[in-house]
Structure formats: C-alpha cells, structure tokens
C-alpha cells in the first residue's frame, strides 16, 4: 500500500491506520518535525571547510550534503539542539533565536 500522508492534518478518525501503525517506511520525510525549535542554526559558507563533522553529529539527519560538501541545514526537520554549532571546529554555525529569525522572515 502506498501512503499519501500529505493531507494527514485533515484526516477523519477512520482514515488513520489501526493502532497508529506506520505501515510504509520512509514516510517520515513528509512528516515535518522542525516546528518546535527555539534556536535556529545559521550556517556560514565562508567559514565552512566541509569537514562534515556537523553531518556526523546531527542526531536528526538535518545536514544536507551535495558532492561531499555541506550544502545547508534542513530547517523542516532541525530541532535546534545546537550540537552542530558546538562541534563545528571552525565556528561556522551560529545558533540564533528562532522567534527573532521568524520575525525577520515575516518582515
């Protein structure tokens, strides 16, 4: 069975799978979990040496890598734990206040 969960927020009670069993692997990609972040990582491409330490340490696989290079942080899944910023040897990741960042975005 192929599952489309894109409209899950509007599902009625009888549409959910019995016993909350997730019967299709990998669909967590469609289930955005970055919404409860209070700190946001900001990546500085200038300082970054692409050592990929952040990729190794990220507990949520939120570091996007392309051609063995750190490309960006996936904010739809990043929960703002700050481990990447802590581990980065070049201080290329800075944690900023999420609410302020959102306000900036909405301006």
């Amino acid at each position: 069975m192929k599952w489309d969960i894109s409209d899950i927020k509007n599902w009625s009670w009888d549409k959910h799978p019995r016993g909350a069993i997730i019967s299709e692997p990998g669909n967590s990609e469609k289930f955005k979990t970055g919404g409860w972040r209070s700190l946001r990582p900001i990546h500085d491409q200038e300082k970054c040496v692409h050592c990929l330490t952040c990729f190794i340490f990220c507990p949520d696989s939120s570091i996007k890598v392309e051609d063995e290079k750190m490309k960006e942080i996936d904010l739809e899944f990043c929960k703002g734990c700050g481990i990447c910023a802590e581990e980065c040897p070049k201080d290329a990741i800075e944690m900023i206040d999420e609410m302020k960042a959102l306000d900036e975005e909405n301006k």
């Binding site: 899950i8 009670w13 016993g19 909350a20 069993i21 019967s23 692997p25 409860w36």
Partner: protein, 399 residues
Amino acid sequence: MAIENKSTVAYVGTDAVAEAMRQINPDVVAAYPITPQTAIVETFSTMAANGLVDTEMVNVESEHSAMSATIGASASGSRAMTCTSSQGLGLMWETLYIASGLRLPIVMPNVNRALSAPINIHCDHSDSMGARDSGWIQLFSENAQEAYDNTIQAIKIAENSNVYLPVMVLLDGFIISHAIERMELLEDNKVKDFVGEVNTPYSLLDPNNPVTVGSFDGLYGYYFEFKKQQEEAMKNSFSVIKEVGEDFGKLSGRSYEFFETEYMEDAEFGFLVLGSAAGTVRHHVKCLRENGIPAGMIKLRTYRPFPGKELVEATSHLKALAVMDRSDTFAGGMGGPVFMDLRSAYYDYDKKPLMTNYIYGLGGRDLSVELVQQATEEMQDIVRNGEVKQTVNYLGLKE
C-alpha cells in the same frame, strides 16, 4: 495427553484455564506467578516443559514485564497470552493501555482478587474493575466451565479483524480458581479448528512489509482519533461476541450471550450479578419461585463492552432491580461500578425499575443464601412501598 473424545472431568478453575491454553496452543506465553493465578502458570509451564504445547514460555521477573513481553510477541504476529491477578494486574496497568492502543489481540485470564491494603488474597472484582476503562474486552465467568469456554472464545473475539482488541477473561479467585467442579472438555482438534490459525494485524518480523509500532504522537496530535477508533472497535465487538457465542454453542452445546436471564419474563424484582455469586443468587431465586415469589435474575457475562441497551430492555418491566457489585468505586456514595454503569444506561428511558445497589463479598467475604434472602426482603419492601430507602447497601458488612 491429547483429548480425543468429549470428556467429563473434575477440575479446579486454574486447571480448566490451563487446559484451554494447552488446546489453544499459543505461540508465546509470558507470565509471572501471583496468588491465586499461580496454578495456571505452573500447570501451563509444566505442559510446555513436557512438550504438550509448542509455546515459547517466557519466565519474566514481574507482571509489568509479562504484559510487555506479551505485547512484543503479539506485535511480532504471534498468538500471545498471559494471565494474572490483583496487584499483578495493577502492575500491568500502563501496559494494558499499550496492548489496547496498539490493537493487539492478546488474551489474558485474570483471577479476580482484592487489591491491597490491607493485603488480601481472596475474591473481589476491584482488580479488573480498575482496568475496565483500559480498552480491554472483559468476559466474566460463573464457574470453571465458563472460564474454560470464555478463554477459547476470547481468542476468536480478539483476533476478529473488526475488533482487534485484547480480551480479559475473569474468574473469581479461589471460589472458581481453587474449587473442584465437574466440567466438560472439548476435543483437542475441535478447539484447534474453532480458534483457527493465528490472525494478528501485522508482524514486526516481516522484512518485506516493515512497520513502525508505537510511534510518537506528540506534535500534531492524532491521539484523539485513535481513541475514537478503539471505541468503535468496542462497538463492533458486540456482534462478534454474539456470533462467537453462537458458534461455540454449535460446537459444545453451550452457547453464550452478553448475559443470561433466569425467570425474568414475569419477575417483579430482579438481581443483576457477575461471576461466581450468580450460582448462589440463582439457587435462591429458584427457591423463591418455588414459593411463588416473583423473583428473577440476570448474570452479566460481557461487562466491557457494556450491553446497556440490552440490559435495559431485559429489566425495564421490573418494579425493582438490585445490582450486585463485588467492588466499590469510593465515589462518595455513588455505589459500585456495575450499578453506576446500568443506572447511567437507564437515564434515557422513562420506564425504569426502582434501583438499589448491593456491595458484597469484598476481600472474599462469603455471599450466603441468608444474605441474598436479606436483600430479597428489602427488595420486596421496595416493591410494596414503591420507594427505595437506601440506594447503596453493604451486604454482609459487620454493623
């Protein structure tokens, strides 16, 4: 030893349940001993050790682990059972909700015993009543025969794909579990055919169809929707319990319904009772009838789901109805759980009998015929005077 012909045996209730489990031959049993259930686990593990069943017997260190291991086994697609009593059921509390929330068709006989304190090992329905809202189906048994019959039927009810809910089979501690009774066993192959192949909703061990069990629902919140599904499954179980009860009747000559009625058609007053006390009440009601007194009784077998509408239909013609509870709710004068449920079911109906509640037998206090007679006299007073003097009564309490 395999049973090839129908046989009449003298068994205690724990043997009856262990025998049913042997014939069901579950894939996994994870259990921990607790009085008065111990003999079930003991007998069954002996059967497992002697190779009479193919069951993987898991000896765990507590009832919390017993239910957890049973949940894991059931989620793996196997037919999994456990059994418990009293504090053991209490220790399973949080995992009971996991079993029903994951919609796992686990079957668990529970030998009813009082909850501490003070420590008491005797019969009382407080343990299973504490679990009445945990989403488990609850089937009460009057004697060893019914405990055996209910255990076999429970498998078919739980594993019905319109239900997929765990089922608790209740039998009264010591009164049923440790007293010898004459009962009939079915042939092994008949039970095997009746319960059929295991039907569990998915398997954790199927690499071709991977699933996630026990997912987190804290962000977007669909918990509410899943609880509604459970309630809907509980509603579906009404017809399934009925069908399985009829099918079992064809097999054994003993068919089962939500409840059993005795002399109810023309009764003026009646008793509603669960479990082993039904025998005492039935005996007394028969004696009353022989003396021309219009008494009747209902023995409630299916407590969850609660057949409220059917009970109302069966009792609304009475002038007075006494609900007998072997546990209290400590609500401050509201009475026992069965009384509260039935009274609530009556709210939507105009025609209703005067209702009283008798809380009896707590901690194994005996329910004698004399006590039922005392209640009978009070019921006759209610019929005569048309009023209830005291709604909640403690039958057999030292005063």
